[in-house]
Structures are given as structure tokens and as C-alpha cells.
Symmetry: C2
Subunit: 390 residues, 2 copies
């Protein structure tokens, strides 16, 4: 509790950009944030005063975080499940619960639950060894997708493999850690990737955001268009209903992102995230209530905010550290150009040092003209990434 | 400078809600904020990690704030002018400058500068004593407005007096402090009050926000409608041009709010503020670029953001501590009702304890229907103030 106002306090595990972007709606709502982060230089720890310094793998640190908090929640999925259950046993409010979160932590558990709920998923196999690869390939076809069940993110832990020999090499050269196991999925011939986000509160209220189109580069979210262009209304509704059914079936609280393949055989669930997600960053500037505010409202079991768009189109493009960072000026020096060229672009930086392949920020353009929004957002992001220098 | 990203650092004097609401755009832009506040419980100090604890009347504290900052700026006008000049002499970037800020600190200096610039002002007198009151009344008419030149805000330091006897009582019972003097102004028979906000950067770029209608209760801003309903385009343009001319004539940098009377004799300048202002809180939810972001961009001499509205109407209503606060639940307990009734209302709380007459927060509703926006914003604010309990 905030000692001045009596407002609730939320404990937030993880010092990344998702936690950083939660600071603004928390301040607006008068909700106190307490952060678990490793040091003051982390993205979120730069902008949130109340920080418990420690690791999300340390139960003592998690317990210290929870002290005086109404609830704890997460900006990533990497807290060990046993720790989450220990916190729950100690009477600490954990949202989403350990029972829900395990589906975002373990892709095998997720696929099993999705299938059990009758929700559409690519064909998949698990519980196999390198010696079973031929049979797996016979069932799913080549190329197929190999994944480790735990610990991957932003394209890590995922391989598209052409044939049995390549699959064998990946499996033999990869050390499985954190209790991870192998799974294989058919390579879905999708026409595009969608994401459907919902917020759901412990008392069961849920709201669905507009379905967006996502573009991934090297397994990392690169561009989001909200809403997805040329998506038939029935399919948009189907995607929202899939996300709502996932949220209910898995007992999700807070934000849920369901990444979907839009394929000839229909919509298929690719991945889940139970937290604010890159596919929803556009909501800060383009929706009535941002995903970060609704995540807070949901985990506090407050009534949820209006998820609708405020304009016809929002385009979000990630700012990622380029391959060659030698000789680049500090990212913020590019401000002058980007802001002078386009007074309407929304720049979001995460306070991170420049590293190749690292998500450093994103830009959003809100417009009634999709082509205009795409051009402007990509120009701003490219310039901030040092890709163009005009 | 931020040691991780090389981003600029801004020193912010004053721990109130204006500083608190600056935290969000600073984090988005990757700009570091360092705050001068008296304690961690202050509104802004709750949400900004880097705080120098001290008083804005202490030059040593101001100097400590400025260390490592690209520029210092303000959430109020109360820093002694001599201290500002001392900082400037020491080579510290002060935006707005002491030479500009004195016009927001001293109403006599402001009126003189406004008149010298040929800008419209109510008839006024200064440099008088109680013995001169008859002549002042003959010149300006009764009732008239008595003001102290320095230190007033939110209606404090301003009296509407009916006659000479009442004026004498006010003057004789009020102690002038901080070098303040008396001034008297005609009571303008205005039909409504307007506010025109502009942002101006040191290099001279300026942008003008839509002109808004403000309603004051007991001298405190209560309601803002953006844009002002039924305002002829020529008059809106005139108000914007007055604000731009004030900014240029007085050398203002950062946000400038010009409060105007819309009177039969035309637009007349009432008050100025050289910082984000209550009349611009709607811009957080209703404009492309908020006043808080543009204040930061302006004082850092970055290109300014688009000030236009994102929807047809925005209505902001302040949440003020009611006269009788006994038995009221904590403000945040009213969340459930307000959010459940209206998923689209934007709630902004300042992290302050409940006191009668204190600005505790505000709500904003953005809508294409003005009547709808007014009803919803007032309901939410009234409920948060404990005025209604349905």
C-alpha cells in the first residue's frame, strides 16, 4: 500500500522494457510499483524508484518483492514454477497464477492444454529422441520446426530444419537446460501472422483488443499493424474468441497475447505470452486503454478499460540495434532528425545500451492512412537504427 | 547524461503533480529526470527515482540538482530570481530563463511587459496604498480585483472586492511577503475564460495547442473543454497568436499557458504560466503530443511534437478534496465504481493524501460528443470526490 493514499502496490518481477512501460499507467492510476531487478541501470529500474535488487530465480528476493504488495506480476516468464507455488502457498497474490503461467513457460504443457480445450494448433510431436526423427518427419513433413519447450524467446530456442540430418545436428549440439524437452511442429504455410490480445481479471471479466498483423524478422517482432488490414470480420472475431477461450481455459489473469498463423487450413495458435507483449505496444498511442494499464487493472481485479483503437490505423515498428554499431552516434542524437521530419511520430526508447540485435525501443504512428503510417513509422525506426542517414 | 544511453538529463524543480506527469514522456523519450523535492512522499518523488532532497529556495540544493543535467526546468514559479540568475551565471542551462520566468513570478512585471508588447490586458493600477484606493476605484470601477504581485496560485492572493472599505480591509489584513506589492485590475465582464497554450524552444520553434475553455471554481481550474465550443475560428486564431506573441516577447521556453478573458471588448490576458498547466492536462489523452512531452522537447531544444487533438472533444475535470473528508474511503476505493461504469474514462491521480480543497487528480474523457464527454467526466470526478455515491 502507498502510505500516503492507501493505494495498492504491485510487485513487478523483471526490469525490462515491459516493466518500464508499466510505470506510466501505474503513476496515472496512483498505483505504487515495486520492482525486482538486478541493478539500477536496467530499463525499468531507471524509471521506478522502489526496487528490490535481486534475481527472479531467488525465492528470498521474490519474497522481499512481495512484502506490502497487493499482488505480484511479471514482465517475463522465467520465474521457476516451484518459486511461484511457494509464494502462493505463503498467501501471496500471484497474477497470473503459477497454474496459468506454466503454459507460457513450457510449450509442451501449452500445446497439451490447447488441444485439450479443443483449440486449433499446428500438428506437433514431443517425447522423441534423435533416433525418432524419421518418424517425426514422416508425421509432420519436412521442413519442420524444432523447439525447446522452455527458456526460448525472441526466436531463440526455435529452429526451422530442412531434413533429418539438420534436425539431428541441432538436437545434438543444443544443451537442454531448465528441464526443457524437445518438441516438433509442422511448418505452417501461413499467409500472415496475427496476434490477438485480451485482458482478463481474476473475477473473470475480459476485454479483447483489435486483432493485429505482426511481422517477425529473425524470430523477433518487427512490425505491427492494428487492426490487421483486409482481415474479414468473421476471422477477426474468431481470433478474438480463440484468445478469450485460451484465457478462460488456462485461467490467465492480466494480459494474454495469442500469436496466430493465418493459414489455408484456418487460424492456428503459434505462441502465448501472459503479460504485455510487443504486439500490443501500439496501444500506448493508438488505443483508449493501453495494454500496460489493462494489465495493471486486471491483476488488481479492477474493472478493465476500453481496448478499442482511437484511430483507423496504428503502425508500430521496433528499433533494434543494427549489426554494425561502430561509429553510430548515441541513439538519442537521431532524435533531432526523426522529430523534425515527423512531429507526429511517437518515439519510445527503453534506456538500453546499443547492442546488435537488441530491442532498443519502438516507434508508433497513428493515422487514418495506412500507407502513410507504414512509411512514416519505418522511416523513423530505420533512422533510429542507423540504417538510413538521409 | 544517462550513463547507459548517453541521453540528456533534465533537472526538474518541484515535486508536484506537474513533475509527476512529466515522468511518463521522459521515460518514453529515454530522457533522464532528476527531481528536486522535499521528501520521497511528494507527488513526483513517488515515481521518479533520481531525487535531490532539498528546498527550491536553497541555492546549494538547486546547484546539486543541476549537476550532470543538460538543463533545469520547473513545475512551479517559486524559485527566487536571484538563485536563477546565480545558476545562469554558473553556466547552468535554465529553461525558461530567469529573464523570462520573472514575468510568471511577478504580476506587475508581467502586466508591464504585456502592455509594452502591445498585447491586450485589463485596465490595471499598481504602486498605490490604502489611501489611494478611492482613486483606483474611480479609474477601474467597483467591484475590482485586488492581487498581490507574487506568490499567489490557485486563487490565493486574489480578491474580488465590492468597494473601498472591503479593499482597505483586505490590504490591511494581508501581509506582503517575498517582495510582493499590490496591484488592482478592472473586473472584466467576461462571457467565458479561455486558455491558449504554446510550446517554444530556445531556437525559436513554436507550436500552438487548440484553444480551450476553462471553468474556475474558487479561483481553481475545475473544468477544461478542448477545443473551446462555439469559438469563432478568427478568435481562436487570435488567442493562439496572442500566446505566440507573449512567448516571443517574453523569451519563454518550454510550455506557456496564457489565460484569457473572452469579453465584449475582446480577448484580454488574465494570467500566464511558464510550465505545463492545468488547462493542458487533457493533452495526455486527447492530443498527439502531450504538454508534458512538448515541455521536455522544448527545454531540450528538440523539435516539437504535433499539438493537435486526436478526437473532436476532450473534457478534463479536476478531482479536488471535498470540504468534508470524514468517513470518505480512500480515493482509490472509488476506482471500482468509476471504471466499471465507464471503461473509457482516463483517471489520473497524483498520489496525494486527502485534504479539503486539494487537487488530488483529474479525469479526462475523449469523445466525438461533447455532451457525452461532459456528463461522463463530471460523473467520474464527482464520484472520486465523494460528492455523489450512487
Amino acid at each position: 500500500m502507498n502510505p500516503v493514499t492507501g493505494a495498492p502496490r504491485v510487485g513487478l518481477v523483471g526490469g525490462g522494457q515491459l516493466a518500464r512501460m508499466t510505470a506510466a499507467p501505474a503513476a496515472a492510476l496512483g498505483v505504487d510499483l515495486r520492482l525486482l531487478a538486478t541493478d539500477r541501470g536496467e530499463s525499468a529500474a531507471q524509471v521506478i524508484p522502489d526496487v528490490v535488487f535481486g534475481s527472479h530465480t531467488d525465492l528470498a528476493a521474490l519474497t522481499a518483492l512481495a512484502e506490502g504488495c497487493s499482488v505480484i506480476t511479471f514482465d517475463h516468464e522465467h520465474v521457476p514454477p516451484a518459486h511461484l507455488r511457494a509464494l502462493e502457498t505463503a498467501g501471496i497474490g500471484v497474477q497470473p497464477s503459477s497454474a496459468a503461467l506454466v503454459h507460457a513457460q513450457d510449450k509442451i504443457t501449452m500445446r497439451e492444454a490447447i488441444e485439450a480445450a479443443g483449440l486449433p494448433t499446428p500438428a506437433w510431436r514431443h517425447d522423441f529422441t534423435v533416433d525418432d526423427l524419421r518418424g517425426v518427419g514422416d508425421a509432420l513433413g519436412w521442413p519442420l520446426v524444432l523447439k525447446v519447450s522452455r527458456g526460448g524467446y525472441d526466436g531463440r530456442g526455435v529452429w526451422v530444419v530442412e531434413d533429418e540430418a539438420r534436425a539431428r545436428t541441432v538436437m545434438e549440439s543444443t544443451e537442454l537446460v531448465h528441464g526443457a524437452a524437445w518438441l516438433a511442429e509442422e511448418l505452417v504455410p501461413f499467409t500472415r501472422e496475427l496476434a490477438a490480445q485480451v485482458a482478463r481479471s481474476p473475477s473473470g471479466q475480459a476485454v479483447a483488443y483489435p486483432v493485429v498483423r505482426t511481422v517477425q524478422v529473425d524470430g523477433m517482432c518487427s512490425e505491427v499493424v492494428a487492426p490487421c488490414p483486409d482481415l474479414p470480420e468473421a476471422k477477426a472475431l474468431e481470433a478474438q474468441q480463440i484468445a478469450l477461450r485460451v484465457a478462460e481455459a488456462l485461467g490467465v489473469t492480466g494480459m494474454l497475447a495469442v500469436e496466430l498463423f493465418d493459414a489455408p487450413q484456418g487460424l492456428l495458435i503459434n505462441e502465448l505470452a501472459m503479460r504485455p507483449h510487443n504486439s500490443g505496444h501500439w496501444t500506448i498511442d493508438g488505443a483508449v486503454t493501453s495494454q500496460f494499464e489493462n494489465h495493471l487493472r486486471a491483476v488488481l481485479d479492477l474493472p478493465l478499460g476500453d481496448p478499442r483503437s482511437t484511430a483507423q490505423w496504428s503502425v508500430m515498428v521496433n528499433v533494434v540495434g543494427p549489426r554494425d554499431i561502430e561509429g553510430l552516434p548515441p541513439l538519442t542524437d537521431a532524435f533531432r532528425h526523426v522529430m523534425a521530419r515527423d512531429p507526429g511520430v511517437h518515439v519510445h526508447l527503453y534506456g538500453k545500451s546499443l547492442r546488435p540485435g537488441r530491442k532498443l525501443g519502438h516507434v508508433t504512428v497513428v493515422s487514418d492512412d495506412l500507407a502513410d503510417a507504414l512509411t512514416r513509422a519505418h522511416h523513423a525506426a530505420d533512422y533510429l537504427m542507423g540504417v538510413i542517414n538521409e
